[in-house]
Symmetry: none
Subunit: 294 residues, 3 copies
């Protein structure tokens, strides 16, 4: 509503001229004008002389446009999405932050009902993969760190793990069935952290894989036994401690000679995987699952 046409004020009014906007968002002025005329991406006010004055929301829209294009959308589609919800970014992340806080609070308070409700909301609002990637896995990481720092008791950690683990297993229902390629999932001996592995399995399932889940603390040689029966496309092993891999180095190398093997979890590394003839799956868990090809 500010009437004053303070040409110079690009500060608190937040209204930018095209050159400054171009510099901030890293798009050429020509392109910004093209996006405006072609797709109506923005409709900046004008100075009396006709110069464009962009608002902060315009800037958000332009950035959203760029994100969508980088994600592979056409310019037209990108503009359509950016116009629809380009300025609402902080709203969405606010609700995400809120749900994250609620999950955290309820689990810390040993309040199962509230925790289940938070998980419900989370999954309903974002869907499985984003909920895992953006909230649940970060929460579990934080939980581990607080546990290491002795800020929470093991009982607290167990409670939260069991609630989340229970939910993940519920979502895993029937994940061994169907027609996709098969992945066998397990943790090496002495490794008991399986929530990450469960999440990885769910992400794979989302992509159509069939999962055979052996879970925590599984002797490597025993995996080999079921190989002919299951004929998996890949065996994925996850551990948070590299020594869990190294302790079974010999068996792992033998396994990798017979079947494709992937190493994941904080204990995996490219070097370690290479050394034992396995594939490294050391990136973001969800990304790795999404990118995995049979």
């Amino acid at each position: 509503m500010s009437r004053s046409v303070s040409i110079r004020s690009m500060g608190e009014g937040g209204r930018l001229r095209i050159g400054e906007l171009s510099r901030r968002v890293g798009e050429s002025p020509d392109l910004l004008r093209a996006w405006e005329t072609r797709y109506g991406l923005v409709a900046p006010d004008r100075t009396r002389g006709g110069h464009r004055l962009y608002s902060e929301q315009d800037e958000l829209r332009v950035r959203a446009m760029r994100r969508h294009i980088d994600a592979g959308l056409s310019a037209a589609e990108a503009a359509r999405l950016a116009k629809r919800d380009g300025g609402e970014r902080q709203d969405g992340s606010a609700s995400l932050a809120h749900l994250e806080a609620e999950l955290s609070r309820s689990l810390d308070a040993l309040d199962e009902a509230a925790a289940q409700a938070a998980l419900d909301d989370l999954l309903a609002a974002f869907g499985l993969l984003p909920a895992l990637a953006e909230v649940i896995l970060p929460y579990l990481r934080g939980l581990g760190e607080r546990w290491v720092a002795a800020q929470i008791s093991v009982a607290d950690e167990h409670f939260a793990s069991n609630i989340i683990g229970g939910r993940l297993r519920r979502l895993a229902q029937g994940w061994g069935e169907g027609v996709g390629p098969r992945a066998v999932l397990a943790c090496p001996p002495s490794e008991h952290h399986e929530l990450g592995l469960l999440s990885f399995g769910l992400a794979l399932r989302q992509r159509g894989w069939r999962i055979t889940y052996l879970g925590a603390d599984t002797p490597i040689d025993d995996i080999a036994a079921g190989l002919t029966e299951l004929a998996p496309s890949i065996v994925v092993l996850a551990a948070v401690d590299p020594f869990r891999f190294l302790d079974s180095a010999h068996s792992l190398a033998a396994l990798a000679a017979r079947v494709r093997v992937g190493f994941g979890g904080a204990g995996a590394s490219v070097a370690l995987a290479k050394q034992l003839g396995a594939e490294p799956l050391t990136g973001d868990l969800i990304d790795e699952a999404t990118a995995l090809r049979p």
Copy 2:
């Protein structure tokens, strides 16, 4: 790459051009077009200029097609299956809408085996309370309405009621035992609709209550007789017609003077409950059960 971004930006309405879809699913654009023209696998929107715009479901279909082909089916068969159920099974649980339709269809067709299977799936996929709240109770409401509108015969209505009632009773197995507070459930004289009351009992049981179920058409004075023996925390009466309460007004008032009494069902109202000294339970059945405190 910006893989996680893509997950997010695909969330709502971001339609892909053929090149990007090709990149994501790993099939050549030529092949995608061939599958479309030969088998009608997908029917993407088009830009004004004729370029294809694929939806998220299209992507799922293409992936399903690939899975079926890898499983050994011919392209034609793979496409037939992918079209049939390519977009349905995201997270392993069949969609609620699909199960609802299947229940409805099988009951209308008087196909008991199919109806039982649909109930199995429903309960397995969503659990008791959500299944009741989201599917079974809405179905029963619809059934009642269709019966009033004379769109179905009494036999149809009985068939469906008996299947569902039978299942609810089986689920009620042992609900009188345990350690929780006790609720006595009954319908007043001349009231014969007890499916809602059964559901209410199951929801209470789910929350730890012990149920004593007297069922349809129960004289109020008879309830009073068992009172000292059972020592219930509450007596819940349900009727679809307010006159069923009014006909026993005197006995009901007397009962409410001795024990906590709740009124539920379409025949209950806040005014009526107040008048006879009872608690109204007029909200959503499952919600009321969940909120009830001993």
Copy 3:
């Protein structure tokens, strides 16, 4: 009964060409065609171009034909029998012995779909508590014994445990909510067998208790920390090895001084419980849960 095919019907209706059928049943295409023309063993659909499309039932018939031939029958005789009853599934008699055998078979064969179906049938036919008491817990005992006797690999054991554990956790949905007395369930440090504890929790839940589940490998002192917050009626600890109790003897005695504590599992004994001030829950797991009073 053919179990709810609808959910896992991914392969349902997928008709095979002769090459793929040949691969699956291990008979040459030529032979398959010969059996068809000579004995009318099957009558597959055809594509417009004339290619054969075999149904799942056709596959069963071919397999039956092979079984009969291997049993010594002539081809003509074998075809006659296979046509008569080759396509019919072995009908699942709902007998307990049969279901037990089917569960055992499918888990040993790492066949998740069949195992889930067996669990479905089991729970539908007998209900939770009988299914646990009569089939699932005995099976788990047998599994442990076979494992000790090294008759099965750890991977086999893990697979079965995860399938059953997943199901139990699914059934545990929402068991922390409601109005009943609260029980805290955990295994002492180093104890990782939690399937019995889960079953015990389900049995308690069935009787109206609210469950707070801390699961495997929980330090006793940490349980004490949550005590005021949760105010449980009882804390139940389970272990298969008495040393798991003895290792935490001091903490356990301290805990038992503050709250009612029960000891269960093969590692518990009346003497041990008495010594540490706890209640023995050494009888049948389901019976103990059923008999427990707040």
